[in-house]
Chain length 353, copies 2
């Protein structure tokens, strides 16, 4: 709890372009005002977090957080539980979508075992931050203890701190965990005061009957556990997951060190909901890369007042949306850093200016 408290205490409010200096710099560039649209907005967010108009993005790190879920035994996913572990192996070997996209944008993928249901050896591309061997089935009792929930968040904070020395200019979040749309929907329902029906979608591809059952399980988990919606750690413990807590920790840890966080999809944003409920100041450090095809994601983004950069009908997780979003914010930051001004380029300004 000490690390979590210390981290939260040190998160500073970000004001977006408080001095107007970033907008002023964009206005000197040889383009019609505002014509770069959201690229300008993204660069402004980045530079505001960094606290300087002169900034670049060099070290891009995507954390793919993996964990298992006891609730998988209720049949809420189309995939068997061992796929979490198998996909982690695939990440380590570089054959997954997140590896391809991270190579494409020049980012490093850090795979993290937050609580897979079997033991894994530490490997060069795998970090072990195991809180438990999968959570317990939330349909019959709390997914984890309060201590485990705190431990999962602190693991995420530690991950940020461990990368500080090597350099970390932007964090991408990602997830892997069979059944993890189930706790994510539960978290949204509780923290957003939304009904289970509307926040629960098909995950990896449930049919109508399985979707009906998934909603029933989530309703049961909330009824059985009675999470206190004013206590985000209680909510995480009762109906969350280890990797979701880990992602909350990444958000808090990054904010504490003024590092922007590019959120991936539904599960990542569930982690962001926890972080935001713990400390609302974290919100201005978070950027929504895309809106997932998973039903509840747009509701989460609206709750956090985030407008996604991309809408590509993706619903894979792993950090794939975050990778694409990082490349776009980097484009904006490079424009801010490298463009010639009207004066430098010898270009006439518009009439009347």
């Amino acid at each position: 709890m000490k690390l979590l408290k210390h981290t939260v205490d040190h998160i500073k409010e970000v004001l977006i372009d408080a001095t107007g200096e970033i907008q002023a710099k964009f206005n000197t560039f040889a383009i019609p005002r505002g014509s770069l649209g959201r690229l300008e907005e993204l660069a402004t967010i980045y530079a505001s977090i960094k606290g300087t108009v002169i900034c670049t993005i060099k070290h891009k790190k995507i954390f793919t957080m993996a964990g298992d879920h006891g609730v998988a035994e209720e049949g809420v996913s189309t995939f068997p539980q061992q796929v979490t572990r198998q996909m982690v192996q695939n990440f380590i070997e570089g054959g997954a979508a997140i590896n391809v996209l991270a190579r494409h944008i020049g980012a490093k993928v850090i795979v993290v075992d937050c609580g897979i249901a079997s033991h894994l050896e530490s490997q060069p591309y795998l970090k072990i931050k195991k809180v438990g061997l999968g959570t317990r089935n939330m349909a019959v009792g709390p997914a984890m203890s309060r201590e485990e929930a705190i431990r999962s968040i602190e693991s995420g904070i530690e991950l940020i701190e461990e990368e500080l020395e090597d350099g970390i200019d932007i964090v991408g979040t990602g997830d892997m965990g069979i059944a993890n749309t189930t706790p994510s929907s539960a978290l949204l329902s509780v923290l957003g005061s939304m009904d289970v029906m509307s926040v629960t979608g098909r995950g990896t591809g449930l049919d109508d009957e399985s979707l009906r059952r998934k909603r029933e399980i989530i309703t049961r988990a909330i009824t059985v556990n009675q999470p206190n919606s004013n206590d985000p750690i209680d909510v995480l413990a009762k109906v969350g997951g280890y990797e979701i807590g880990g992602i909350a920790g990444l958000c808090l840890g990054a904010a504490r060190y003024r590092i922007p966080v590019m959120l991936d999809g539904f599960i990542s944003t569930a982690g962001a909901l926890i972080a935001h409920a713990i400390e609302p100041k974290v919100n201005n450090y978070l950027i929504a890369s895309h809106v997932s095809a998973e039903k509840g994601h747009s509701m989460m983004l609206k709750f956090l007042n985030k407008r996604p950069i991309l809408d590509l009908n993706m619903r894979l997780g792993e950090g794939t949306g975050a990778a694409l979003g990082i490349s776009l914010i980097e484009a904006g930051v490079k424009l801010l850093h490298e463009m010639a001004t009207f004066y430098e380029a010898g270009v006439s300004e518009p009439h009347g200016e």
Copy 2:
């Protein structure tokens, strides 16, 4: 006319994933089916045009086509005409937005003088394909002769042919030309049978009074010239522009050599409208990178039945949207090329498959 006719005669229809081979390959990957959303769709378009499931994108070339417009003398832009030439110099020196974004995605920018109103020397990063010293004022007569219109299109075809030896896997279009939203709106109005009011927007930032005047000028140009909407070359000649004809030529030339074309915004899509009217088979070679903030662009895309990849409220031109779109289709193509299958990764398939 010979080059244009020869090119059009050799454009083959593209069928998207005619054999189902591309979809079949995606279905072997260790991901829930369809979870890559539009990245899968983009890769499928690319591979279908290339005619092979095994493909990569190496040579990315963005053509920034520059031309001047006689109609600028009517005060339809906020910028003075010499800015076209000044910005071309900025492109050559590498300080413009398109240079920054092309470097970001690893593309080459080819700047082309299609008809700037002053003489420019050929330089390493500048190609001279000058049809005239700016078009004539379309508000009082045809912008160019029929021969000039054909010449402008054939210049675009030549640009593609000149790059074949060096290699060209994807074409990005781009434009620079003070006042060129005016002919683009006129082209949309005539070719799409849409009223001038609804297709005409603020360009680089006109106020209400100037926008009213711009609409009046476009209406007058159409009334004075009476372009034949069934003859796209007549329409281009009477109310078009040299760089717009050049972009039409890029589309036709690329299609003839089975090269995908990533369209930029409003002016590029006006060029695509001309190409499409000349030969509808060109349509499946065209990909819409983004929807511009310029009013008529979404109408153009609807007319061509294109769904843009991005919606970032950009309205700069130069090829900036195309650059971002190229990076995203490249992401999709890399996924198709590099991902591990369920079998290779040792990942269990979903229940019931």
